[in-house]
Amino acid sequence: MSLMTVENVTKSYRVGGAEQTVLAGIDLSLQAGEFVGLVGPSGCGKTTLLNICGLIDQPDSGQLSWHGQSLKGESGAALTELRRRTFGFVFQQFNLIPVMSARDNISYPLMLLGLSRKAQNERVESLANAVGIGSLLDKRPAHLSGGQRQRVAIARALAKRPELIIADEPTASLDEETALTVVDLLRSLSREFNTTVLVATHDARLSRWCDRLIRLHQGHLQVDPGHVELFGEATV
């Protein structure tokens, strides 16, 4: 059974009085533990699709299922609870809480889950070592480099051991070397924790980390042909 299924999802925006369709009947299935890349030109609707998959935006039509259960008609509070327990987010701008140390930022989702302070610390330290910021835990985001902040963000996304991580352009604010390191890290940790990752990017270099690469073009999903050549046939 798929972790998440997106069926015939549409989404339009009104821009300057004209209706602009960004998602025109999207079908997508995410399997447990896979690393899926979503590519496409700027403004093609990658973020919109990610937001819908991350349950922070509503489609105009179509439906989403989680472990085979339709999410249609679920209340905002129910979706919040689902995100709280099983979703992780990595944002392009990191979105760390500036007044909190790296340690507190990473443990924030664990605090929401009500884990004991001891359990939080154990998991935070283990993750911090895994992402290579073990010595920076007491620093605030302002005292970290862009790459270090994104590592904190990845650790935060992974802290609750989510089933699905939504990563929107996680390397856009990073230099080339750091970007590759961060994606490599995200990939290896997702394998380690069997976490599904849906990552939006317009960076073609990331394709080699993806189990599956899908392209969003004019509101429709396509299997990236280049990626098919590299990794074999894939489905959307």
Binding site: T80, R84, Q93
Partner: protein
Amino acid sequence: MKWLFLAWLNLGRNRRRTIATLMLTAIGVTGIMATSGFALYTYDSLREFAMRDSGHVILTHPEFYHEQEDYPLQFGLDNAQTLEQTLIRDRQVRDTLSTVEFSGLITNGNKSTIFIGEGVEPELFQVRGPSMRLDAGRLFGVSDADSGAQALLGKSLADNLKVSVGDGLTLMSTTVDGALNAIDITVRGVVSTGVPAMDSRLVMTRITDAQRLLNSDRVTRIGVYLTDNDQADAFYHQLTEQYPHLGVTAWHERAFFYTSVRNLYNRIFGVMGVVILAMVGFAIFNTASMSVMERTREIGALAAMGTRNGEILRLFLIEATLIGLLGSLVGLVLSGCLSGGLILFEVQMPPPPGQTEGYPLQVYWSVVMAMASSAIVIVLAVLASGFATFKGVRKPIVEALDYA
């Protein structure tokens, strides 16, 4: 605890703004404490003065305060001495004072003028305590061995008649039988009540001299002084039941100045309090609004991670509570310093309208007032913050994350 910690951290996000809001809250609390403290001091002083002036409970003829007398002491009390002896046996009663009110003409032989007289018991000044300023001579005393009729004159009256201590004057009045009577008195002292209108008419004699002038052994009223001010109401009700045939009046029913000042101050300081609270409320509203605006993207991220709207709102409310609490604490310390400073370094207030004597400015600091003003400010802070942040935390997550 976790939310409290996060709220505490958030207060340090923009320290200057937090300190400015905190200080405004503190100044607001100081303002409320100072104005209400001054009002309380004034009420307390006036209440004390009124009680000392009339006694906690006043006994009269039942018609005295309701009907005009056709002749002096028409509505006077008979057997006042017996009544006083009965009253004084009650353990709650500290003392009783009979008074005879009268009026007439006072003359130095060359010049005559109207006077308002009070025949008082010699222990009046011991019982009342300081209620007027002695400008010359002596007040009446219990152990006086002086013979002959003596009087204390208001300062302006003494000046008007050009008399000083030891000079002789004549008091003329109508007796209870309608006849004109006169007694010679010697000026024993000159006093100032602080009220010019009184000082130009006041004559105080011993009660026996007043009764001799009016040719009656009645008294106008008996003031009952209690050992405990707080028992005044209960004792009033007790006397009402005990003496149904007499006029029993509580002190505040005759304390017109006290009541007027209290009503006036309640309105003035009430409006001031509302203005101060409005300032504090708007300051916190402004701070919370700016804070929500600046943290919109962060709010979006928190919500995306599964933080409930209520939890985000609670975070802002805790921040407002902390500002209210800390501001109140600083304000209470400042107001305490103000109260203490006014005791150490006396500041004189100018005389109120219609009076000649100023009074020391004091500001009471009471625990009840401190708790009430802090509670009001904290509730206000929470309401203002809730009002400012309610809409912000409900912004759609996608919009919040895109907020520039």
